[in-house]
Amino acid sequence: MKDQHPPRWPDRFLRWFCSEEVLESLQGDLYELYRKRLAKSRKLVADLFFAFDVISACRPFAFSKRWYLNSNNNFMIGHYLKVSARNLVRYKIYSFLNILGLAIAIASSVIIYQYVLFETSYDSFHSNADRIFRIRFDYYKDGQSERGGASAYSAIGPALQHDYPEVESFTRLISFGDGTVVTYNNQPHFEKKMFYAEASFLKVFSFPLIKGDVETALSQPNTILISESAARRILGNEEPISKIIQVFSDQPTPMQIVGVFKDVPANSHIKFDFLVSYATTYPWGWTQNDWGRLNTYTYILLNQGADFHKLQAKLPAFIEKYEGDALRSTASWEELTLQPLVDIHLHSNLVCELEINGNYKIIFFLIIMAVFIILIAWINYINVSSANALDRAKEVGIRKVAGANHRQIALQFFFETAVINCMAIATAAILIFTAHPYIEALVGKPLTLAVFMDLKVLVTLLAILLFGIILTGAYPVVAISSFAIASVLKGELKRSPTGWMLKKGLVIFQFTASIGLIISTMAVYQQIKHMQHQKLGIAIDQFLVVTAPQQISDSTFVAQIEPFKNGLLQLPQVSYVTASTAVPGEEVSRIQNFRIADKTEEFNSFFRVIGIDDNFMPAYQSSFVSGRNFSHELKRPSVIINEAAVERLKFKDAQDAIGQAVLWGERNTVFEVIGVIRNYHQQSLKNDFHPTIFFYNPAAWGYFSLKLSKADLQSTISQVEKNWKSLFPGNPFTFFFLDDFFNQQYKEDWQFTRMITVFSVVTIFIACLGLFSLSYFTAVQRTKEVGIRKVLGADVSSVISLLLKDFVILIVIANLVAWPLSYLVISKWLEGYAFHIDITPSLFLVPGMMVMLIGVLTVSYHTSRVARTNPVNVLRLD
């Protein structure tokens, strides 16, 4: 026997929309038809026909009269609006706080959303973005990773394309490093954002050319592409195409401008103002097919539909084919990984990155923050309006007596919620637009308001806000409209225990979230501060660094360098002058092979290499563990190494290293180790100590660091510049202060810290707004109780503590929940730092106490007012 009952949902739907009059015959007919169909065919078919029939009957004639008759409802909207307005005015402060809290929360969440959208949009503007991959190169020695880098050998790109048909094309980039000099009309400019790029670059990526031809640009040696803004900066209003500019690449080289591209968008991980054709580098010999130098950034474009995981699985065999034997003989191994282009900005943190990348953890943290902020504001609304419900119970009672039904009362309260939410959204929009420039400055990123024009973004936002209205409207509606008339009007209404529990739960959630966010923010702040204030192992204060001249040949430089240094030392304000290839605060880009001289090739390892003169160590106050500094009288080629290098070279200790010979793998030259220095932080404390080898090079070419004594900076700089102009004419004088330069590495961290500090203050502020309003309503409800207690002899302080107790317990519970959760998050986050703070109890206690204090202060305003009321006033009417 089949189930004789028609499917329930369509049936219910029918009953819902259909008037009773039509329903009688229509439903009967439908049931009868259903039975007949059921006898003939399967249940599913009959069910479907039934549903179809119900839908076919969904026509105006069948609609219940309640859909028309209540033109009253439409008429009532005007009334609801009036009542909403009156209530807004009647509870001025609380309406204001409600709207303010919601508006700030919506604005904060939207701003965070905007930031997250920007960070996740990196490189997605390329039309082939999902098919482009960067080659990540990892080098292992004795199973230990020595280098995970963004750049690789130049031979990898062509070999990949040759071996695997799914590789449609590839393109290579070589960086100009710290920049070079571009000269036009004898006017030198120091330019930083420059690359050698292959002709395929413009086809793989989507950087549109304004002038020039994508097909031929970058194909000829000594040709150059220039950005719109750089063209304006260097050529002014002249037509750039076919102009010759002089670029210092190894030596001053005249290059012809063959194209102008649009300025690179801020959300590109490759940022450049100039692209020099790759063919220009062919004479160097190692830029086309070399398996030794790790200077080439390689991007490959896969065929449409090719699966990069499959190609990834073939790459170990690729290494085996080209380098297997060579690598095995030196007990090392290499690994290539395909990095999806759009993942680079948030998921890649390698050696030789093109810029300091973002971090997906931060994005994740911000999303959680945004969700918490908006949830807290919604909870405020729910709590306050349902606490307020008791005040409005009488109004509801009267309405019910006058004939309002459940639906109408629900509609009215939804209407009020919608009014408040709409006002909040409007305020939020104003806030977002007015705060926009400050927010941009705060986060240091161009956050365009244009994202809100995007339909997808707009729909998402509106959906979330609509969800908020429904969520915040639903609970008070249910709570208020379900009051029984008689008990309301007789004044017997009590707090329902479930409602009170829910409210407590929500408050606990709010404060757990706020405390958690504050603890995390403090941890982040302390960590960044810890990194910045940690001793670096060298002194970087009071250094003026001058970038070495680029526009000069090797021999003249060496000839000029001594007079320049000596000239500067004559200045009374300058206590040291030292030349080096790198200064603290930048990544050492030279990474080369060394081993102990009498060992075989398999003992080769990677080291960072810095060339310095004999003043470097004393000027930077670097301390020697053993051995001595370089000096003019050195007879043999020698090196100084750091402690990390002692370890990597496997010397017994620093003492043992002195006098040992190390061999430079690429040139087979032997050096004697004459000194070991203590590890110092070359980069920010996010990085570990790297094994480093210092060469003696009195004419080290990179930077001149000037240690200054306290004196008039302006005059010192102008004197240095005068010396510079006379010795290195035609070179731009560029300088920076080393401590600023070093701290630049923390710029992003500080921006992030500032941002989350602002938003965690917002969180606690909104949570307190809610607490303030809630405490008002609960205190008012207990005035009679307080009156009786006072009549019976309770004093003000005991009444206050009674009223405070409820809230204090909630905040204590919130603390107990927040501590372990934030501990987990913080310890996970700190793992990413080589040098991190210890997690101390104060990290949890201080925010906990702070929130408790703020909470108690918030609550005690109303509490003390209620506690001080004269019992006669509240009791005389009973």
């Binding site: 039509v22 009688e24 015959s25 009967g28 039975r35 179809f52 839908i55 009957a57 969904c58 004639f61």
Partner: protein
């Protein structure tokens, strides 16, 4: 227009069924005799209009379990309904006579 085409058909069927005209019966007759298969919604909608125009009168029948305890609603053609049918038919025949080559004989 006094009667839409579909309404006219339904009215005719109500007339033919006499005392037995209710939703399902009308639907089945339409199906058997005319090869029409209107949805129940369309049918009820037409019946509702006929009723409100006064072409049919209704009476309630007994409830059965088969119909989920719902009563049948029986339709009967009214005198006004019959007159309207006649008028419509007359008008149609009058017009049809003026069409050259159209034979109006009954087979």
């Amino acid at each position: 227009m006094k009667l839409a085409a579909f309404e006219e058909l339904v009215l005719l069927v109500v007339g033919t069924l006499g005392d037995e005209a209710y939703g399902v019966a009308i639907k089945e007759t339409l199906q058997e005799k005319l090869g029409k298969n209107p949805s129940i919604g369309a049918l009820h909608s037409a019946l509702y209009r006929l009723e409100s125009k006064g072409y049919v009168a209704t009476r309630e029948g007994g409830a059965t379990a088969e119909r989920g305890g719902r009563r049948k609603k029986f339709y009967r053609i009214t005198a006004y309904g019959i007159r309207t049918l006649e008028e419509v038919n007359e008008m149609r025949v009058k017009l049809a006579r003026q069409v050259p080559g159209l034979k109006l004989g009954f087979k």
